[in-house]
Symmetry: C2
């Protein structure tokens, strides 16, 4: 049985970056999320595909032992299609074409088994659909993503959905837009008042910041020298985060912090090749090598000879204020 | 005798933000830098001011016991003036007016004592001047700042100057522009080939990243909820960084990492009020409180029960790759 269920899009992408081009790239939030999460736990995917979804596409899921029994197939329809282009800085995707196709009529329905998955991720789909899935699920921990489009055109529906989840995972522009507040700390406080217990803010190459009523955590990103395609970075981040939590089964502050580091590492792999090409063939050692490097490049000791119990005000190697 | 010398601008700023306005704000790179650094070590300032520089302005330096014997006074001239406005996101300053005034003829000359300061910071001034100061100094550790203007109009001079310093401290847009490379990791490698042993990249609200041939370190910023005026954030960051290193006297990887954290904390105070108003009255406890919070909000353990000797490949709480 899946420990982690994801509802979202499976897409065929056409992607152009300054460093390459791929006409037909398997993508979508549920794809990047589930492949990433599959390294940590048993994952099931709920999405819809058309007749153009090939056995080669499906093999990506099967190779990672992802449960595709929730993958609805519309033989006479076409899979959700997105064409995008990234400019030189790779930060912003310019959408060239979006064809909803079978995704336009997507009405996700959870099987009894899927409804029992203890962890649920609501990928970036229409907020009303997200809420319908939430209502069907018995998950004990639910996280969701969203995007600027829904904040713009479906704000009320979105707010209802946000109020019903444990964690909101969005990027920093979305957080500012949602809270209508440019300062991220203030925006986060406003968003936590909307209902979720946790807010995880994705900052792309700058890392991530986590907010709850009890804690704040921030981390830089894993440094990536060769970014081939940023598509799916946020979903693979969320996949690593949720996958790790589902594996640990309980969600506390320490597990959340580790989960963010795992998510960051998975995102760093995701962007190194098109689609899920880099993620698919990762080994345990590949992942753990970056996890250990993460620990090294973020580590600092407060004092030359770190006294474990030093407290503010104590005399230390720090200069006395003159 | 000063352990740390800074050469740069002392300015009168006129600043407007969405949250306030100050017609006459004491500013300039040397001002923010020296006030910040003064909490860690003995600082001397080399700069030029006009007849409009008041005893109240000077008291800011004296209060912090900053050596102003290198402050050249041109009684019949006017102090460097900058007027700027920040838009809602506070990230970008829009220059409304720049009057070089006495700064236009600034020819910094170091006294024998100033030349002996073991640490030197070359604030953002014309790169040829920076190099002339470098040549006069016997400092064992020299860092410098620069800006997009000099990268644009004085690239060759700038490259000569960069080749002669130990550390370059610039923001990420400048790093990308200098290296003509959008990927920051690649840009950093290219910049290290220009001569400096260290590159410290300021990322504003996202923190900082440090590069040398041996090490990489990255940190998020200290979260600031109420930003009154971002002016001088980078210089107060550099001041905390250099001030801490000058106090420790030796520059190694561990000291550099701590210095970056101290610099980040000083910058977080700097932006909370106009000019150096917030920095001026800090106490040891104020600073150490944020230093300890920094340690808390960036901390994570790799494993639920962190085994100190765990290595990649070892069996851990991490999921086996299926």
């Amino acid at each position: 049985m899946s420990k982690l269920l994801v509802v979202g899009s499976v897409a065929i992408d056409s992607i152009k970056t300054p460093f390459g081009k791929r006409e037909r790239s398997l993508g979508g939030s549920a794809t990047h999320f589930s492949v990433s999460a599959s390294f940590f736990t048993e994952v099931g995917v709920v999405a819809v595909v058309g007749g153009d979804f090939t056995s080669e596409d499906e093999a990506v899921f099967h190779q990672r032992k992802i449960d595709t029994s929730g993958l609805e197939r519309v033989k006479d329809g076409k899979t959700f299609f997105w064409a995008g282009e990234y400019s030189f800085d790779l930060n912003t995707a310019h959408t060239l074409d979006t064809q909803l196709n079978v995704f336009g009529d997507f009405k996700p329905s959870l099987s009894p088994e899927a409804a029992n998955a203890p962890f649920l991720f609501l990928g970036n789909i229409q907020p009303t659909l997200q809420r319908e899935v939430r209502a069907q699920s018995k998950a004990k921990f639910v996280a969701m993503d969203t995007m600027n489009l829904w904040i713009d055109i479906a704000r009320d529906e979105l707010l209802k959905t946000i109020a019903e989840v444990d964690a909101l995972i969005i990027n920093d522009a979305e957080a500012r837009q949602l809270a209508q507040e440019s300062n991220l700390i203030k925006a986060a406080k406003a968003i936590l008042k909307m209902g979720p217990k946790m807010l995880l803010v994705k900052r792309g190459e700058y890392g991530a910041a986590f907010f709850s009523n009890d804690t704040y955590f921030a981390t830089p990103a894993f440094p990536v020298e060769d970014v081939a395609d940023p598509t799916g970075a946020g979903d693979s981040f969320a996949g690593g985060f949720m996958g790790y939590l589902a594996q640990q089964e309980h969600v506390d502050d320490k597990a959340v912090r580790r989960a963010i580091i795992y998510g960051s590492v998975m995102a760093s792999f995701n962007v190194e090749q098109f689609s899920c090409d880099r993620l698919r063939d990762l080994t345990h050692d590949d992942i753990m090598h970056r996890i250990h490097r993460f620990s090294e490049f973020t580590h600092f000791d407060l004092y030359p000879n770190f006294p474990a119990n030093s407290k503010p005000g104590q005399k230390t190697a720090f200069a006395q204020v003159k």
